[in-house]
Symmetry: D2
Subunit: 288 residues, 4 copies
Amino acid sequence: MKQIGIFPNFKKVNTAKITTETIKWLKNKGINVYLPRIAVEILGFPQYQNLLERSKEILDMVIVFGGDGTLLRVARELAPKEIPILGVNFGHLGFLTELEIPELFSGLEKIIEGHYRIENRMMLKTSLPKNNLKERQFYALNDIVITKGSFARLIRLETYVGTEYIETYPADGLIISSPTGSTAYSLSAGGPIVNPNLNLLLITPICPHSLHARPLVISEHEEVKVIIRADHQDIMLTLDGQQGLKLQPNEEVIVSKADFNTKLIRLKNRSFYEILREKLAEGGHKEF
Amino acid sequence: MKQIGIFPNFKKVNTAKITTETIKWLKNKGINVYLPRIAVEILGFPQYQNLLERSKEILDMVIVFGGDGTLLRVARELAPKEIPILGVNFGHLGFLTELEIPELFSGLEKIIEGHYRIENRMMLKTSLPKNNLKERQFYALNDIVITKGSFARLIRLETYVGTEYIETYPADGLIISSPTGSTAYSLSAGGPIVNPNLNLLLITPICPHSLHARPLVISEHEEVKVIIRADHQDIMLTLDGQQGLKLQPNEEVIVSKADFNTKLIRLKNRSFYEILREKLAEGGHKEF
Amino acid sequence: MKQIGIFPNFKKVNTAKITTETIKWLKNKGINVYLPRIAVEILGFPQYQNLLERSKEILDMVIVFGGDGTLLRVARELAPKEIPILGVNFGHLGFLTELEIPELFSGLEKIIEGHYRIENRMMLKTSLPKNNLKERQFYALNDIVITKGSFARLIRLETYVGTEYIETYPADGLIISSPTGSTAYSLSAGGPIVNPNLNLLLITPICPHSLHARPLVISEHEEVKVIIRADHQDIMLTLDGQQGLKLQPNEEVIVSKADFNTKLIRLKNRSFYEILREKLAEGGHKEF
Amino acid sequence: MKQIGIFPNFKKVNTAKITTETIKWLKNKGINVYLPRIAVEILGFPQYQNLLERSKEILDMVIVFGGDGTLLRVARELAPKEIPILGVNFGHLGFLTELEIPELFSGLEKIIEGHYRIENRMMLKTSLPKNNLKERQFYALNDIVITKGSFARLIRLETYVGTEYIETYPADGLIISSPTGSTAYSLSAGGPIVNPNLNLLLITPICPHSLHARPLVISEHEEVKVIIRADHQDIMLTLDGQQGLKLQPNEEVIVSKADFNTKLIRLKNRSFYEILREKLAEGGHKEF
């Protein structure tokens, strides 16, 4: 652990202070620190040489100060590099973040000593072959979602798995989710909860206007193709609910497992099921 | 039946021809016919004196040429007048339309002879007391829907029935539906099917991000108040999925039963349950 | 309030003591008290003259010591008499019970002074016309449920509303629920929550083996007929989950609104929605 | 292909005739045929030497005459032997059966020539460690289901994945399903559809009396433990809905992936998704 990046979310209180303290702490240990340009500017540092944007190849780890949302953003940005990510949360418990602020330096100590494990999380990739986008490939850790605008008429999503026609969902949209994303948007649309260490894809229609549509679990080796059928242009593709792209009628969206994982640094023995209970279920047992 | 209006949907094939024939047929019977200004222009009629827009007070019936969507539009427009509506469908069976084109003139004959019944359908009204809209009241036959835009962060819908706090739904949106609307958007969001001759309100959250939210059926005498909690302005209210209004954070939406009904002209003995079977269920019995 | 019955559920701790104290308190006020024969025996009273079983006609009120389950039982037993029921709960909050033990005597004081209101709850009645049962009519406050045994093959429930054929549900069973019962078994099978002061029937299939089956809300004036199609005899009808009757293949079950209500004595201003929040929802707002 | 077993379901019409013809056809090819004792008796054959029950070790294939239900039964019976199974259906299309009667002999011809492929389907195993059953292990291809009797009070299912506590479901029961079983009982209880070539376990509560319970997808390497909490003894475990065992309160049920697969003989190129469309969805596109 010689080269460590830091991604601070400055919308959270105290981020600047914590980030500065962490930089100092790491430098004292003889570790080189890398920051995104925007953080350098906000923190008012002198012209920094270690810009994170230029150094992705050499980083041993990235620390994220923020919640699950910030971590999703960083995971997409670092996607093909497979740099281990440590999520440090300011607020309440997250599915992805590992430490809370009071545990920060004791946790970093352990990591530097090598006492941690890496948890691999499957990512998704998507491409829009009929679109003239500069970028050919997009990534997501949670989900790739196709939706119509709130006032637009419903769209029809002609869906294939491999070459096999599945169904044309008349719906508000369609969620293609990783196991990690099963506890995010997909869950609100009726999808199952999936152990995030599995490798599979989850297809969940949003408000389908046909009674027989159901969530579908497919193999990590299968590719999903969705052809957008609509008579209007108010259609959007979103990555992890954070990054959006406009889609056109008759456009094709291809989604499959990415060729690399998000690597989460884990120090604790909290299992997914434990986090799930805390996040979703009630403290006591409310029965009816 | 001396004063009859006609609302043609010109997006459907043959509308102009059928409308012209119907006008001729009605005039032969000594009936005065009223058309919307747009129809007069499209049909190329000479300056017509019987503009429907000026004559709502005196109409005995309005004939709608189009599907359920067109009928919803007319129902909202004629709302407080309670003019009976006859829906004539060009395509497949509807929940609201009553006749298909080949049955048109034999059906009109029966109606003129008084051989029909009126089916009352509860309507919804909504007001936005904190908004400076010119119109104070809006109406819907199917549903009043609050939704966020497709790329916006989720909204929180602080919901009251009367003065009673129900829940703050973190969700994509909320549907307040009449019984008639229970087979429309509400059904796709998990709501129950309701006999459309009942008088009640149905509250259905859209993709709620809390596991315990469920559709709620309340009395026709209860008023729903929803306060929009959001940190963005991409929020919309839609009437029957057709007419849209922008909403602001912290705005209040009040929904209750309207003071009048949509009056559908019925000639046949098809019950709601029969239409339901034809529209929703499979011809045969597909079991798994 | 001169004639008051008491129904104690002796499975609850302290029931005997509380019942004896209540009898003494009521007698001091000059009120005649009536007990079921079983209670007389358990309490070891001398041969009592005021047996509740013989005195239903003259009772002004019945006090139930127990939870919602005990109250359901009493409601069915007293069904056609419309005697007001006061539910006194030993444990946690109920949908139907009104007082907790510490509030008992102050509550009774208010009731005797006439400071209470009556809440009417719609009941269901059912008959099995093809069965040679001595009793011709059965009642339920929550629900009338048809189910197959746990090891039996699925049954088909040919369902009519009035004379109108609805569907033949291939399923584990079917719930016909009152608004009061909407927060009981029906909710676990995917039914909506209904304001219990409404008058309507709710039909909810249990684990239907066809994808298009949905809960159905019908009018209080409509009658449901279910014909049991099965090739085995492991089929049961249950009233409020408490009283069971064996059904035969091809047997008909008729369900409709009963001709009388359960009358609940209410002293507090707690609304249904308030109880709902406490019973079903989480204390805080757990979102995902 | 020298040793072939036949399992006929004699409840289907024509089974005896088809079975006899198939035996003759196979013998003509010099193949030894093995039948279950019951089939030998029904067909009135002379004392047969090739009893299937004694010969499981040497069979190259088993032909099943019947539907998916019959095939499930055979799959459990042959479980640890991994003998390839060919399902021949008398009626409509199945998820598991491969041929219809008219295709029987042309299909067998291809198989004998080696023109077929084997599709592996994950099986489940279960044990009841606290029970004194002679058999220590039971198998299922679709699902292992714990349910209460139809008139019994609800049970609480204290559920663990590995050593991790998940939840105590207050429910009618719990389904632990293989991917193959995802289109059976689990689907009727709200579970997702799973590509049957995946290896994973699906946990679906039946009519849970808590609002936050959701279907859960876990790894093929994880073991499920369910401790039955109930105050009555009307509790049952069923294998594929066909074989039942009584359970006691506080009994433990352990379920995991079996150490072997069901091997289905496939001749056609029908994919799972194609069968799914035919079995579950409507021919046309019924939208609402």
